[in-house]
């Protein structure tokens, strides 16, 4: 599924991030925008794992949780600057993904899904139950990143929402750039090849265990950074970020938008982030509408929103 070239996708994303604020009626939209970007970042990781390599994970919120709590705990216990905590979280996620991925990536399909689900639940459980350390289900405060003060000193007074809109927008574009680079690279091709046929991939020399692991680790880092961003932005985090609902949400975003392409997945993230906000007008019918829209999109756009729309634009479908 190739939708335009790498460069048009990137250009589109950059334009989106830069131009959208001109249409924002209030600062609340900066908050929504930043959520879209943060989710978009996590979902881009899912694209690499699921869209490219064809491996399903229902436990990626576990890595979101690790990234988020790193920002709360590392400053508190290790005295680390929050920015370094982001890196520590990412490194920790990578290491854990490496250790967990080695055994569970031997599993296929739903078996992998259930194993990763177990991993995610495990992380959420530790965050919930180790009260002494994590303060438990009520959540823990996260220190300020300090960038706002820095920017202010430089003469630019940004609100919290505006600042995080910019930061998460930058991170998403960076993430998308890396993922797009990967697609057409030897590694990306190896991942897509093992998705198509493991036996054939092996016989052309792809060490499938290694490549699956690489995809898992990369996507874990994406998830972790997105967790860090959300924690730093909210200045508060609860174990909810690591919950299985969040894992399922991430996969849903990817598939809804079109798991095969970065732009599609980000589109999915945007839709599922914006929908609940838009649907508040339906009050108690919100859930009904949300479920209905998800079904309709998947029924009529079976490869996901974006690929289907693209097909529609290019010409009649099948």
């Amino acid at each position: 599924m190739k939708l335009g070239t790498k460069h048009t996708t990137l250009l589109f994303l950059i334009l989106l991030v830069v131009a959208a604020p001109f249409f924002f009626p209030s600062a609340y939209y900066f908050r929504i925008g930043s959520l879209v970007f943060v989710n978009g970042l996590a979902v881009t990781g899912i694209v690499i794992l699921t869209g490219y390599a064809g491996q399903i994970s229902l436990g990626h919120a576990g890595f979101v949780g690790i990234g988020a709590y790193a920002c709360a705990l590392a400053p508190a216990y290790l005295g680390l600057h929050p920015a370094l905590a982001v890196l520590l979280g990412a490194a920790l996620s990578a290491i854990i993904a490496y250790l967990v991925g080695r055994p569970i990536l031997r599993l296929k399909g739903y078996y992998l899904a259930v194993a990763s689900l177990g991993f995610g639940i495990l992380v959420a459980m530790v965050l919930t139950n180790e009260r002494e350390f994590t303060k438990g289900p009520d959540g823990i405060e996260v220190p300020d990143l300090g960038i706002r003060a820095l920017v202010k000193a430089a003469g630019l007074d940004l609100s919290n929402s505006e600042l995080w809109y910019i930061l998460s927008g930058l991170c998403m574009i960076l993430g998308a750039w890396l993922a797009l680079n990967l697609y057409d690279s030897p590694t990306g091709r190896a991942l897509r090849a093992l998705h198509g046929s493991e036996v054939a991939a092996r016989t052309v020399g792809v060490d499938i265990a290694r490549y699956k692991l690489q995809a898992f680790v990369i996507s874990a880092v994406y998830a972790s950074v997105s967790g860090s961003l959300i924690a730093l932005q909210n200045k508060f985090v609860t174990p909810e970020v690591a919950g299985y609902m969040h894992s399922i949400e991430l996969v849903t975003m990817a598939v809804l938008g079109g798991a095969g392409s970065v732009l599609g997945a980000i589109f999915g993230a945007a839709i599922l982030t914006l929908l609940p906000q838009a649907l508040t007008i339906f009050a108690e019918y919100e859930q009904i509408m949300l479920g209905l829209i998800m079904m309709l999109v998947m029924i009529y756009m079976r490869e996901g929103l974006l690929p289907s729309l693209a097909r529609l634009v290019r010409g009649r479908g099948e």
Binding site: P103, Y111, V114, I121, Y244, L256, Y285, Q287, I288, L292
Partner: protein, 290 residues
């Protein structure tokens, strides 16, 4: 050792609930390779519909029967309106549809019924039965009997009937199934009806023990899913054994290790089993020849 016995009885009670949910997964999975994330919603609906009919004055058996039929119809409608139109979609898309359906059903339920928890009386009273110094409620025996019954019926269905084979054939190779004359749409409708009915039955049997409410479905679906994978997806034997084992692991770890981490312990056991048997305990090892 009455403690151990109590842990096991508790595990079997909970495990039978998981087994019933897992059994509900098997048919739709066997027909389409789709794990139906709305299965928990069928369970929930079974309980809720019965509760409201019962509260409205219907005798319990009649209420239960109506609930099963109603939920089976829901399954058929879900298939007709949401799965069938998307039949050429990749399996992941179908799964997302079932997630959408589960959100939808939950939304409808909270509006049509309410957001409270509910319960109706146990079928045979609440007098505990004492087994080797441990106790079990008569309703648990109902759940266990239900699980065993559904298992037997499914097992016969898939091994002894041509229709059962047609269901397996449909997921295995839809094109070939059509070529030999199987109406795959009908098979799908049947599968959704049966899965939904089994779900409803599960909901009815367990409500006196666990209560029901509009949002109990998700957690049940996940546990049932895990149980089904432990046993080996698609195999009724796997669903039954997987469910019971999962329940017993949880109860034993709650009893002996840590009640805080009992779910974690259960998952670690699942991981260990899958590590040694990547297709679950009774899963088919596919020979995809090259």
């Amino acid at each position: 050792m009455p403690e151990l016995m109590q842990f096991i009885l508790s595990g079997v009670t909970v495990g039978a609930v998981y087994a019933l949910v897992a059994l509900g997964f098997t048919i739709i999975y066997n027909a389409s390779d789709v794990v139906n994330f709305a299965q928990g919603e069928f369970v929930m609906l079974g309980g809720m519909v019965t509760v409201f009919l019962h509260d409205a004055g219907q005798p319990l058996p009649l209420a239960a029967l109506i609930a099963i039929v109603a939920v089976a119809l829901t399954g058929i409608i879900l298939n007709k309106l949401a799965i069938e139109p998307a039949r050429k979609a990749p399996v992941v898309s179908l799964i997302i549809i079932t997630i959408g359906a589960s959100i939808f059903i939950r939304g409808v339920t909270q509006n049509v019924f309410d957001k409270q928890l509910h319960r109706f009386p146990a079928f045979s009273g609440d007098q505990p039965i004492i087994v080797f110094g441990a106790t079990i409620l008569p309703q648990s025996l109902w759940v266990i009997a239900g699980a065993v019954l559904v298992f037997t019926a499914l097992w016969l269905f898939f091994t002894r009937t041509l229709t059962g084979k047609a269901v397996l054939a449909t997921s295995n190779n839809r094109l070939a199934a059509q070529l030999v004359g199987i109406n795959t749409n009908w098979v799908m409708a049947l599968s959704f009806a049966l899965s939904a009915a089994i779900g409803a039955l599960a909901g009815i049997l367990m409500t006196p023990i666990t209560m029901t409410g509009y949002d109990i479905g998700i957690a049940l679906a996940l546990k049932g899913f895990a149980a089904a994978m432990l046993g080996g997806m698609g195999n009724p034997k796997g669903a039954l054994v997987g469910g019971l084992l999962l329940g017993i692991f949880e109860a034993l770890s709650a009893g002996f290790i840590s009640s805080q981490y009992k779910d974690a312990v259960a998952f670690i056991v699942i991981l260990a089993v899958l590590f040694m048997m990547p297709q679950g305990l009774f899963g088919r090892t596919f020979t995809d020849r090259v």
